[in-house]
C-alpha cells in the first residue's frame, strides 16, 4: 500500500501545484489574476 499511497500523494501535490502555476501564468498572460478582484 505504501508503494501506492506515497507516490500518489506526492504526485497529486506536484500535479496540483503544477496546474495552479499553469492557471496563474495563463491568467496573467491575459492581464488577469487567478483570484478574481471585482
Amino acid at each position: 500500500m505504501t508503494g501506492y499511497v506515497l507516490p500518489f500523494a506526492a504526485a497529486l501535490a506536484v500535479c496540483l501545484a503544477g496546474f495552479l502555476l499553469l492557471d496563474m501564468a495563463i491568467m496573467n498572460m491575459q492581464g488577469l489574476s487567478l483570484i478574481f478582484r471585482g
Partner: protein
C-alpha cells in the same frame, strides 16, 4: 445598381481580372501594378434588387446552392482528409515494413477515387448554380478573387494528376527509391489538396469578415489582404482538424460495412483492424476539435459581437443544443467502439470493471453539455417556472459548465483509450504500482483543476474571467493527455503481451457505432455549416453587399434542419454508392463458355 447587368459586362470583368493576373505575373511587380490597375478596374459592391436574382424553372435558389455547397463540402472534406492519413499510414508501413499498413492505405485511397469524381461534379454544380442564381455576387467575388480562382483551377488539375498517379502507381512504385517517389507524390497530393482548401476558405471567410476592400466594397487590389481576412486562419484550423476526423469516420463506416458483409474469418479480421485504425484516426482528430471550434467561435465574437451573439445567444443557440447532442453521440459511440474492441484481448478483463464508471461520467457530462440556458416554454409553463430559466438546471446552461463538461469528456475518452492500449499488455518494470499511482494522481489533479476553473471562474467572477479561464482548462486537458501517454509508454516499455490480439473478435453491434459516428459527423457538419453561413443574416458579404433576394431572411430552425437532413440523406446514398463501387471493383465474374477458348 437597379437592374440585371448584361452577361457580356460580367464576362468582360472576369476576363479583365484574369488578364490582369497574368500581366502582373509576367511583369513580376505584383504589389504596385496590381493595386493600381485593380483600383481602376473595381467599383463598389453592387446594390441589388430582387430582380437581380434570376428565377430558373421555379427552383428555390437558396436551397439549390445550399444543397450543392453542402454536398460538395462533405465530399471535399472526405477526399482532402483521407490522403492525409493514407500518407501517414504509408509512412508507418514503410518504417515498420509491415505490408498490412500499405494494403490498408491502398484500400483507403481506393475509396477516395470514386468520391473524388463526385466531389468534382458537386463542385461544378455549385459553381454553375452560383453563376446562374447569384450572378452579381459571383461577379463581385470573382472580381476580387480572380487570381486565386485561376490558380484554384490549375491546382485542381495538379491534384487530379497527383491523385491518379498516386493511386494507379501504387503497386508500380514499390520498394527502395520507388517507394520514396510514391511517398513524395503523396506529400505533393496533400500539399495541393490543402492549398485548395485554404483558397476556398478564403472566399467564404471574406463573405463573413471582408478585408482588402473599403466600406463601400471597393477592392484595393491587394488580393492577399482579401484572402488573409480575420476569420481565414480560424476556419483553416477548424476545417483541417475536422476533415481528418470526418475522413476517419467515413472510412470507419466503410470498414464496418465490409466487416458485416465479410464471409471469412480472415476478411473479418482485416476489416476489424481497418475499422479500429479508422476510429483511432477519428478520435485523435476529435479530441482537439472542440478547442478548434471554440477558437473559431471566440474569433467570430472578436470580429463582430453582433455575429457572435447571433451565433450562440440568438436564433442559432438552439442548434448548438442539437450540436451538443450530436457531439455527445460522437464521444459515446467512439468510446463504445473502444470498449467493445477490448474484447480482442484476453487481458481486457482487468479493465472492464472500470468501464461503467467512465460511462457514467461521460453521460453526466453529456447531459450538462446539452442542458439549455433558456427554455422554450408556453405562457403557462413560464408562469409556473417563474421565468425561462430552470432554478436548478439553469446554471448548467452557461458556457463555463459546457467547457467543463467537454474537457471532462475528452479526458475520460483519453482514459478509455489508455485502458484499450493497456488491455493486452503486462508491465514488467519494478515501479509499476508507483507509475499507476502517478497516473491516477495526474488525472485526479487535472480534473480537479478543470472543475476549479469551471466553477470558481464560471460562477463567482465576471464574463472576462469566465472566457479567460477556458484557456487554462484546455491546456490542462492537453497536459493530462500528453503526460499520461508519455508516462504509460515508459511504464509499458518492454512489456509482455497477454496473448495475440484476436482481430475480428468484436460484436457486430460495435460496427453500428462506426456507422453512427459517420452519420452524426455528417449531420453535425451540415448543421454547423448552416450556422456559420447563416450568421451573415441578410448580407452576402457582411456590411458590404446586402442580400436583397426574396430569400434574404433566416429560415426557421426546423426548415433548416430539414434541408440539412435531406442533403445528408442524399450524401449517404452517394457514399453507399462509393462503397458499392469499391466492392464491385474487386469482384470478378467468370462466365463459363462465354469467351472463345
Amino acid at each position: 445598381m437597379s437592374g440585371p447587368r448584361p452577361a457580356t459586362f460580367r464576362f468582360a470583368r472576369l476576363t479583365a481580372g484574369a488578364s490582369l493576373a497574368l500581366a502582373v505575373l509576367a511583369l513580376g511587380d505584383i504589389g504596385a501594378i496590381a493595386a493600381e490597375q485593380a483600383v481602376a478596374a473595381h467599383g463598389p459592391a453592387p446594390t441589388l434588387t430582387a430582380a437581380d436574382y434570376p428565377i430558373i424553372a421555379g427552383i428555390n435558389s437558396r436551397v439549390a446552392v445550399w444543397i450543392f455547397a453542402q454536398l460538395h463540402l462533405w465530399f471535399a472534406a472526405f477526399v482532402l482528409a483521407v490522403p492525409i492519413f493514407v500518407f501517414i499510414i504509408e509512412v508507418i508501413g514503410m518504417r515498420t515494413r509491415d505490408k498490412r499498413y500499405d494494403d490498408m492505405a491502398y484500400e483507403f485511397i481506393k475509396i477516395t477515387i470514386t468520391a473524388y469524381s463526385l466531389t468534382a461534379i458537386q463542385g461544378g454544380l455549385l459553381a454553375f448554380s452560383l453563376i446562374l442564381f447569384y450572378p452579381d455576387l459571383f461577379t463581385y467575388l470573382s472580381g476580387i478573387f480572380g487570381q486565386s480562382m485561376f490558380y484554384y483551377a490549375l491546382l485542381f488539375f495538379a491534384e487530379s494528376a497527383c491523385l491518379y498517379i498516386y493511386y494507379y502507381g501504387w503497386h508500380w512504385l514499390q520498394g527502395g527509391f520507388r517507394k520514396w517517389l510514391h511517398l513524395t507524390l503523396g506529400l505533393l497530393l496533400n500539399t495541393v489538396g490543402t492549398t485548395l482548401m485554404l483558397l476556398a476558405n478564403a472566399w467564404l471567410t471574406f463573405m463573413m469578415s471582408p478585408a482588402g476592400v473599403d466600406a463601400a466594397g471597393v477592392f484595393s487590389g491587394d488580393e492577399w489582404a482579401a484572402i488573409h481576412n480575420f476569420l481565414w486562419n480560424p476556419i483553416n484550423i477548424h476545417r483541417f482538424v475536422a476533415n481528418i476526423a470526418y475522413g476517419g469516420s467515413i472510412v470507419g463506416a466503410y470498414a464496418a460495412f465490409k466487416f458485416l458483409t465479410a464471409t471469412t474469418p480472415q476478411e473479418r479480421a482485416h476489416y476489424d483492424w481497418m475499422g479500429y485504425n479508422a476510429n483511432f484516426i477519428a478520435i485523435c482528430a476529435l479530441l482537439p476539435l472542440p478547442f478548434a471550434g471554440y477558437y473559431l467561435a471566440a474569433e467570430i465574437y472578436a470580429y463582430s459581437q453582433q455575429m457572435g451573439i447571433t451565433l450562440m445567444g440568438g436564433i442559432f443557440a438552439w442548434l448548438f443544443i442539437i450540436q451538443a447532442v450530436l457531439i455527445g453521440t460522437l464521444f459515446l459511440s467512439a468510446n463504445y467502439y473502444l470498449w467493445c474492441g477490448m474484447g480482442r484481448s484476453d487481458g481486457a478483463k482487468r479493465y472492464t470493471k472500470y468501464i461503467k464508471y467512465i460511462a457514467i461520467v461521460l453521460i453526466a457530462a453529456f447531459l450538462v453539455w446539452f442542458t439549455p440556458h433558456t427554455l422554450v416554454l408556453t405562457n403557462e409553463e413560464l408562469k409556473a417556472l417563474g421565468g425561462p430559466h430552470h432554478k436548478i438546471l439553469g446554471p448548467l446552461g452557461i458556457m463555463p459548465a459546457k467547457n467543463t463538461a467537454v474537457n471532462v469528456m475528452i479526458i475520460f475518452t483519453a482514459l478509455s483509450f489508455m485502458f484499450y492500449r493497456r488491455a493486452n499488455k503486462i508491465a514488467t518494470v519494478s515501479w509499476v504500482d508507483a507509475g499507476n499511482a502517478i497516473q491516477v494522481a495526474l488525472y485526479t489533479a487535472g480534473i480537479a483543476n478543470i472543475m476549479f476553473l469551471g466553477i470558481y471562474h464560471g460562477y463567482f467572477t465576471n464574463t472576462v474571467y469566465k472566457v479567460a479561464a477556458s484557456i487554462p482548462q484546455v491546456l490542462t486537458t492537453l497536459v493530462v493527455i500528453a503526460a499520461s501517454i508519455t508516462l504509460d509508454s515508459i511504464i509499458y516499455r518492454g512489456a509482455k503481451e497477454v496473448g495475440p490480439l484476436r482481430w475480428g473478435r468484436i460484436p457486430g453491434r460495435a460496427q453500428y457505432a462506426l456507422f453512427l459516428l459517420a452519420v452524426a459527423f455528417t449531420w453535425l457538419m451540415g448543421l454547423m455549416g448552416y450556422i456559420r453561413s447563416g450568421i451573415r443574416q441578410h448580407w452576402h458579404v457582411v456590411d458590404i453587399m446586402r442580400d436583397n433576394s426574396v430569400d434574404a431572411f433566416t429560415p426557421t430552425l426546423g426548415y433548416a434542419a430539414n434541408v440539412v437532413s435531406v442533403a445528408a440523406i442524399i450524401f449517404m446514398a452517394m457514399v453507399i454508392f462509393v462503397f458499392w463501387i469499391a466492392q464491385i471493383s474487386g469482384t470478378r465474374t467468370l462466365p463459363a463458355g462465354y469467351w472463345k477458348e
